[in-house]
């Protein structure tokens, strides 16, 4: 796995094909070259290059002073990131799996996310917490969760969730430059890893050089007129697959990739549902008390009359993620469940 070396200041006119993971690394690399206060630390981010290739090649280029393998001590090294950020650095800290938040959540939600508020705006914490999310490869209940709804529920941290190479790079650069803590959640299934099933869009053209994707802007990735599907991360690709199938039956699906959960781009959602009158939310996270309810409330808080049918939710049905393949696929929001929900919604 080699990094494609690029001059930092190349204007983003030409492009090259990258997987999502390589695009993410390219964003980090550009910022590390531009800003000596950027460091990357976490477990197996050095010689290994990140279990999910989030740091491949960075150690070789920037050395062990700036790309640091840590002990398996998430509380200590996430807290270290916080303190370094407070003192003017811009650390990127990797929590290997979002599922591991349980061993270090205090540093995340009581410290990283609250210091700016508690200090009345006098202390900033410009750090990025990267973390791998998602299932679909039989990793069981403790290594497959998304949990973005939990992070987004807790105030004081931005949350971004790229689904493709372009957004992975642009959101990474935006996250590192942001003066707030940003949680950057990458689904293993969108990374284009050679050792995991890939979706067709996991490799794509990415502009060379630096560019940002603004945090807090959703994207209409497929315009349509009959039904709005609000989704994110790997589920964007499943939904796009379904939309192509349904187009043949005359159902025109609009797909919104949220890209950011905090801040949430409610305007784009409202504009779309105002047009289609039908809303399906596809979310790989747990259904209850989470993202799908928040998206539904985004409409009903403004005007329930916008909806010509009840909101449909395709999410994890509040079940720990099973190991056995058929069980896991039964609870994940796969193409079959998404298609059924859309057909049901537009028929009402």
């Amino acid at each position: 796995m080699t990094i494609i070396e690029q001059p930092v200041d190349t204007a983003p006119q030409s492009s090259h094909r990258l997987t999502t993971s390589k695009a993410m690394v390219e964003g980090i690399e550009i910022e590390m070259a531009r800003d000596p206060s950027v460091i990357y630390l976490g477990e197996d981010v050095g010689a290994y290059g990140g279990i999910f290739s989030s740091t491949a090649g960075l150690l070789d280029r920037f050395g062990p002073e700036r790309v640091l393998d840590t002990p398996i001590s998430e509380t200590a090294f996430i807290g270290l990131g916080i303190g370094a950020a407070v003192e003017g650095m811009r650390p990127v800290v990797e929590l290997m799996f979002a599922d591991f938040m349980g061993v270090c959540l205090d540093q995340i939600y009581n410290h990283m996310a609250k210091i700016h508020y508690e200090s009345g705006g006098n202390v900033r914490v410009p750090m990025v917490l990267t973390t791998a999310v998602g299932g679909g490869y039989s990793d069981g209940a403790q290594h497959s969760q998304c949990l973005w709804g939990t992070f987004a529920h807790l105030p004081g941290m931005k949350v971004v969730v790229p689904s493709n190479p372009y957004d992975a790079k642009g959101l990474m650069i935006a996250a590192i430059r942001d003066d707030n803590p940003v949680v950057y959640m990458f689904h293993k299934g969108v990374m284009g890893l050679p050792w995991m099933v890939k979706n067709a869009r996991a490799t794509a053209d990415v502009p060379e050089g630096e560019y940002t994707v603004p945090i807090g802007e959703a994207k209409v990735v497929r315009p349509g007129s009959d039904v709005t599907v609000v989704t994110l991360s790997l589920s964007v690709h499943h939904t796009l697959d379904v939309a192509e199938t349904l187009a043949a039956d005359g159902i025109d699906v609009e797909v919104i990739d949220l890209r950011s959960l905090v801040p949430l781009d409610r305007e784009t959602i409202l504009r779309s549902v105002g047009k289609t009158g039908h809303l399906v939310v596809v979310d790989e996270d747990y259904q209850s008390f989470g993202l799908s309810g928040e998206i539904a409330a985004t409409i009903t808080d403004v005007d329930p009359g916008m909806l010509r049918a009840p909101v449909a939710r395709v999410a994890n049905p509040d079940t720990p993620i099973p190991y056995s393949h058929p069980l896991e696929y039964a609870i994940l929001p796969r193409q079959d469940r998404i298609e059924a929900a859309i057909r049901r919604t537009v028929s009402r």
Binding site: T75, A76, G79, G81, A84, V86, K114
Partner: protein, 339 residues
């Protein structure tokens, strides 16, 4: 390299010069005066009965009376460029490290002029000008201290960080993770454990498997020392070496100080669980140190009175400023969530 410092052989034999010793006393008196003023105003309007959420100073209030020697002795070696992370009981370290008393008092009184514009409160004091912070979560102030130390070294300075916890925190995971990482990366940190013998109502004997937390420091390869007496000069001496080690790039040190919680865990704590209450006043470190300095010919009654008066004037100015400051506008409760 764990040692227990048994106090100085004789209080007259000090390695410190007179002005330094009087300076330590002055810092301790200022801290005590501040804590007494907060205590006075905390109870001023809690009635009828005791309503914790009521009054000029609402909420939990953890005061540090009795623990002044730790803060005074350690912070004497710091400048405002060095950092301190403290605990839910932070006032003594904040004052000893030079925090502005008016902004500190205003925050404790929940005013717009406070350090955090009333968003933080007494457990959440953040002062960029002295690199001071504190956390209400036991032991969780240690990990950010590592990051400040990392940044100071990365930036090519010899600045250091003092990270404070209580002895109860030494049983938390964050404590152990932090000791290991600081030792591994030789970070310029001085870990201070204030052993006031009590984790709220649970005595150390019921919470901690080792006699000295210095043992735990040593187990991570960190030079560590337990200072047996609540003796500001013994703390000063140990901290001098620890801070020097950190500044020289030799890595962290752990100092555990056997100190005294003169009052309750928080105000309103009747301490019915505490069998040593009758003996506590006699262990107050401030009269003890005053006697020591007096016997050494360094502090006559007039000078002691002057120190006390100066402290009262500064504290009352700060408290008056706080009381006269506006409360924050409720419409702005959502400000400062994001930068």
């Amino acid at each position: 390299m764990t040692t227990t410092t048994p106090g100085r052989p004789h209080p007259m034999q000090s390695e410190l010069d007179g002005p330094t010793r009087v300076g330590l006393y002055r810092t301790m008196v200022l801290i005590r005066t501040f804590e007494e003023a907060i205590r006075r105003d905390y109870y001023a309007d809690k009635g009828p009965g005791f309503d914790i959420g009521k009054g000029l100073v609402p909420g939990e209030m953890h005061l540090a009376a009795g623990q002044e020697p730790v803060a005074a002795g350690v912070c004497a070696h710091l400048t405002a460029d060095d950092a301190v992370t403290a605990t839910h009981r932070p006032h003594h370290f904040a004052i000893a490290h030079g925090m502005d008393l008016t902004a500190m008092a205003a925050e404790i009184f929940g005013r717009e002029t406070g350090l955090g514009h009333g968003r933080g409160g007494h457990m959440h004091l953040f002062d960029p000008s002295t690199h001071f912070s504190c956390s209400g979560i036991i032991a969780e102030g240690y990990p950010p201290a590592l990051g400040q130390a990392f940044a100071f070294r990365h930036q090519g300075t010899d600045r250091v960080v003092v990270a404070v916890t209580g002895e109860g925190a030494a049983n938390q995971g964050a404590f152990h993770e932090s000791l290991n990482l600081a030792a591994l990366w030789k970070l310029p940190v001085v870990f201070v454990v204030e052993d006031n013998e009590w984790g709220i109502s649970v005595p150390r004997s019921a919470s901690t498997s080792v006699h000295s937390n210095a043992t735990r420091g040593v187990s991570y390869g960190i030079p560590a020392e337990r200072i047996r007496d609540n003796d500001v000069e013994a703390v000063h001496l140990a901290a001098s070496q620890a801070v020097a080690r950190a500044r020289a790039g030799e890595g962290p040190t752990l100092l555990e100080v056997h100190t005294l919680r003169l009052w309750g865990h928080f105000e309103g704590d009747a301490q019915g669980y505490r069998g040593d209450l009758d003996d506590v006043p006699a262990r107050d470190p401030i009269p003890t140190y005053r006697t020591t300095l007096s016997a050494a010919g360094l502090l006559d009654d007039a000078t002691a009175q002057q120190i006390s008066d100066e402290a009262s004037a500064r504290v009352e100015d700060a408290v008056t400023f706080a009381k006269e400051s506006p409360l924050p506008d409720p419409a702005d409760a959502g400000a400062y969530v994001f930068a």
